[in-house]
């Protein structure tokens, strides 16, 4: 590099045009998130998300993101029911936040806060999805093939016709379903020994709506305050069967229907703290 290059007098490099990251393929639009800019860096998340938003506005129904490497906030507030987003690589935190309708399929692992405050739609992860997956979701479905981290499915809520669900193929950590006010969490425990508990401590702490189904051992001491544990009943079958078959279709796998191994964790009350306060005016 000559000194004149350093001072920009004779730079010949074309200015970076993010549109060059887009490739049209048969039936879909591909965005290469790893397309290097002038300085050899992959697309900034703002640039990638702007491209995705523009593609959605243009009416694309099948968007493929390739070479995703930790790009955050992908498809936040995306709201077209017929939209399918395919992600190859590792999306960053807050994938599909406030999602309202589309289907996102990740061929890799997702990071934290996947499906944050999602309203409707579907997120399928062919790998692990880590902490606070499905935070405060109000509708939609999250299917995770592998394991999840801490505080998954917390503060999910249901209202009228909408009801969120998180189905986890492997295991989850502590505080699964904390503050849950509605919706369904299913832990399938498909990848470990039968004697291992697939959930951590404080399961359903403060739960006041919704239900958590666990295929595998749960000890009484793992339950958080406000949570109670039962065997499955006939009423659980239709919803559980529906979610399990969605999982099987998404990952082309088979889940054993060994119901005697399952437990259901649900709220003891919809008013967990009603006796906690003294409303007397003094």
């Amino acid at each position: 590099m000559t000194s004149s290059d350093v001072w920009g007098e004779k730079r010949k490099v074309e200015p970076f045009d993010p549109v060059s990251a887009i490739e049209r393929r048969e039936g879909c639009l591909v965005i290469h998130a790893d397309r290097p800019d002038d300085e050899g860096r992959p697309l900034h998340y703002k640039v990638l998300n702007e491209l995705v938003r523009k593609a959605m506005l243009d009416g694309e129904t099948h968007i493929v993101l390739e070479g995703v490497m930790g790009h955050r906030y992908i498809a936040s507030t995306a709201n077209r029911k017929d939209l399918y987003i395919e992600i190859h690589g590792t999306p960053g935190n807050n994938l599909g936040a406030f999602l309202d309708g589309p289907t996102i399929e990740v061929f890799g692992n997702a990071q934290d806060m996947t499906g944050n405050t999602m309203n409707s739609g579907k997120i399928i992860v062919h790998g692990n999805a880590w902490d606070v997956t499905g935070l405060a979701a109000r509708g939609g479905t999250l299917l995770i093939k592998g394991n999840t981290g801490y505080r998954v499915g917390i503060h999910m809520k249901e209202y009228a016709g909408t009801k969120p669900a998180v189905v986890i193929g492997g295991t989850s950590k502590d505080y699964l379903g904390e503050y849950m006010a509605g919706g369904t969490v299913v832990v399938l425990n498909l990848n470990g020994p039968a004697e291992r508990s697939p959930v951590g401590m404080h399961l359903g702490a403060g739960i006041h709506g919704g239900r958590i189904y666990v295929r595998g051992k749960v000890e009484e001491h793992q339950l958080g305050p406000g949570a109670i544990m039962d065997q499955l009943s006939g009423e659980d079958a239709p919803e559980l069967e529906e979610l399990i078959s969605q999982f099987e279709r998404a990952f082309k796998t088979w889940v054993p229907r060994d119901w005697e191994r399952w437990v259901r964790v649900s709220p003891a009350s919809s008013r967990p703290f009603s006796g906690h306060y003294d409303p007397t005016s003094i």
Binding site: K46, N49, R53, R72, Y73, S76, T77, N79, N93, N94, A97, F98, D100, D112, M113, N116, T117, N119, V132, L135, A136, R138, R151, I154, H155, K157, E158, Y159, A160, T162, E178, Y179, A181, G182, G206, H208, G209, S270, R271, P272, F273, S274, G275, H276, Y277, D278, P279, T280, S281, I282
Partner: protein, 502 residues
């Protein structure tokens, strides 16, 4: 025998003047009056809300504060003993509402403003322009100077919202107050061209017409938060804390989750609406930066994104982190701020007075070269235009006002909001009570209140010889401390009375 504390208030009826219309009995939502043997009689439980006085056509009711029935003791005072008696009966955490009623020192009342004399001329605000327009949003922190000498706020200045006066109606949620109360506040904000907070719980569909004057709220419960809600409003505020309950979550009891609230918050009828104490996606400034960024992405960078925190002891460093995390505005809520329900222990004993918090934050951000990047709102008991002016001089760009707006609509600050039977139709969801508040009348009263405050602001600015409220922001040199504790003056960066500058 029950060991209950005696009543603090008693309605007294002049039976000679009483017309036996029974209006006071039917209007008393606290059921403190009854009509027996042809006369109105108090039956206990009066909270001094004053509704009976207001509706009595014969003007024959007064509410008296009952002389203390406790043996005098300055240390184990009546308040302390009442708390003990109540908790020994219920075994619960004491709930209360509104801002703290403990007579802590108020530094607003211990400061005096300056005026222009001889060496700088005063301005007559009735005949000359005194600008009170206030812009809300992030700034680049720099100006571009063009060759022709014109100034511009630089490339890509980011979204801004203009308000006609430096007042924002704070976040009072539908749930904590009634449909009619929130409608009145929003209508007032639209009329005044200022902002009003939606509070947690989303925006009722009827209120979409006010959305350009509404600041939506993302609180830890994420109630009612959808992409459309965030995109529709003028600004978005991420609520971390509230002055009346720093570090505490929200708790709307099942009794208040009516059909209307259930629909707006999108939760089943009659269940508790619990907001977690922290946001579980924010455990650090870096995490806050992510929530700010995702909301910016969600709103496509079209609206300012702010963060509201309660004033706590390390507020300067926290505010600094919030600016670094990319917030366009910061709202600081002092410990005297109001609420529709909070544990009394937190309301009365946690936090920092707003006067100190504003000053500490303004000085810290200025020292770090970032003050010019954000709009700073301050709330937590702004009772009058004097408080507003002093808050701005201490370093706020604008103030956030809640209780004063509710008082304008009828609230008497009786601290019973959490019981959900507000006789003025404000802090209640009972339809027959809500109907008592006419939203148009309420809005008109709030409009008149804030217009008069803005006129008073102009009077003061004129007297100081300042022609724009922006020039008062952080102008602590125009304040003097006139109280007992000069250490506080030193911390606030305000000189003591008698200290000049020349």
């Amino acid at each position: 025998m029950e060991l209950e504390a005696p009543d603090r208030f008693r309605p007294v009826v002049d039976h000679e003047l009483c017309r036996r219309c029974k209006k006071c009995v039917t209007e008393c939502s606290f059921r403190a009056l009854e009509f027996v043997d042809g006369t109105v009689k108090p039956i206990g439980g009066c909270v001094a809300c004053g509704r009976c006085i207001n509706v009595c056509p014969a003007h024959c009711i007064e509410v008296r504060q009952v002389q203390s029935m406790f043996p005098p003791h300055a240390n184990f005072n009546e308040r302390v003993r009442r708390g003990i008696m109540s908790q020994a009966t219920t075994g619960g955490v004491l709930l209360t509402s509104c801002g703290t009623d403990i007579p802590y020192p108020v530094m607003f009342d211990e400061m005096l403003l300056d005026a222009a004399q001889v060496t700088n001329p005063a301005i007559d605000p009735l005949r000359e322009i005194v600008e009170t327009k206030t812009f809300v949003g992030g700034r680049k922190g720099s100006l571009d100077v063009k060759e022709n000498g014109r100034l511009s706020i630089g490339k890509d200045p980011g979204p801004m919202v203009a308000m006609d006066m430096p007042i924002m109606i704070g976040h009072i949620s539908l749930g904590s107050v009634s449909y009619n109360a929130q409608k009145a506040l929003f209508a007032a904000a639209k009329e005044l061209n200022i902002l009003a907070g939606s509070g947690e719980g989303g925006l009722h569909k009827d209120f979409n017409i006010y959305s350009q004057n509404v600041v939506s709220e993302v609180a830890s419960g994420r109630f009612g938060v959808t992409g459309d809600y965030l995109k529709s409003t003028a600004a978005v505020e991420i609520k971390i804390g509230q002055g009346a309950k720093p570090g505490h979550g929200g708790h709307l009891p099942g009794e208040k989750v009516s059909a209307l609230i259930s629909q707006t918050r999108m939760i089943p009828l009659g269940t508790d609406a619990l907001s977690p104490y922290p946001h579980h996606d924010i455990y650090s400034i870096e995490d806050l930066q992510q929530l700010i960024s995702v909301v910016k992405e969600a709103t496509e960078y079209q609206v300012p994104i702010g963060v509201k925190i309660a004033a706590v002891h390390n507020v300067g460093a926290i505010a600094s982190g919030i600016v670094r995390a990319g917030a366009d505005f910061i709202t600081i809520d002092g410990f005297r701020g109001g609420t529709g329900s909070t544990p009394r222990i937190i309301r009365d004993h946690v936090g920092l007075p707003i006067e100190v918090a504003i000053s500490v934050v303004d000085q810290r951000l200025t020292k770090e070269g970032m003050r010019n990047r954000v709009t700073l709102f301050a709330g937590g008991s702004i009772r009058s235009s004097a408080d507003m002016i002093k808050a701005i001089a201490l370093g706020a760009d604008a103030v956030m006002v809640c209780t004063a707006a509710l008082v304008a609509m009828g609230c008497r600050v009786c601290q019973q909001c959490h019981r959900g039977v507000c006789s003025w139709g404000i802090a209640t969801q009972r339809e027959e009570l809500v109907a008592r508040l006419d939203p148009e009348v309420g809005a008109a009263r709030v409009v008149r209140l804030f217009r008069s405050w803005n006129e008073e602001l102009k009077e003061i600015l004129g007297a100081m010889g300042i022609d724009s409220v922006e020039s008062l922001v952080g102008n602590r040199d125009r304040l003097r401390y006139f109280g007992p504790n000069s250490k506080i003056a030193e911390i606030m960066g305000v000189k003591h009375v008698g200290e000049g500058w020349g």
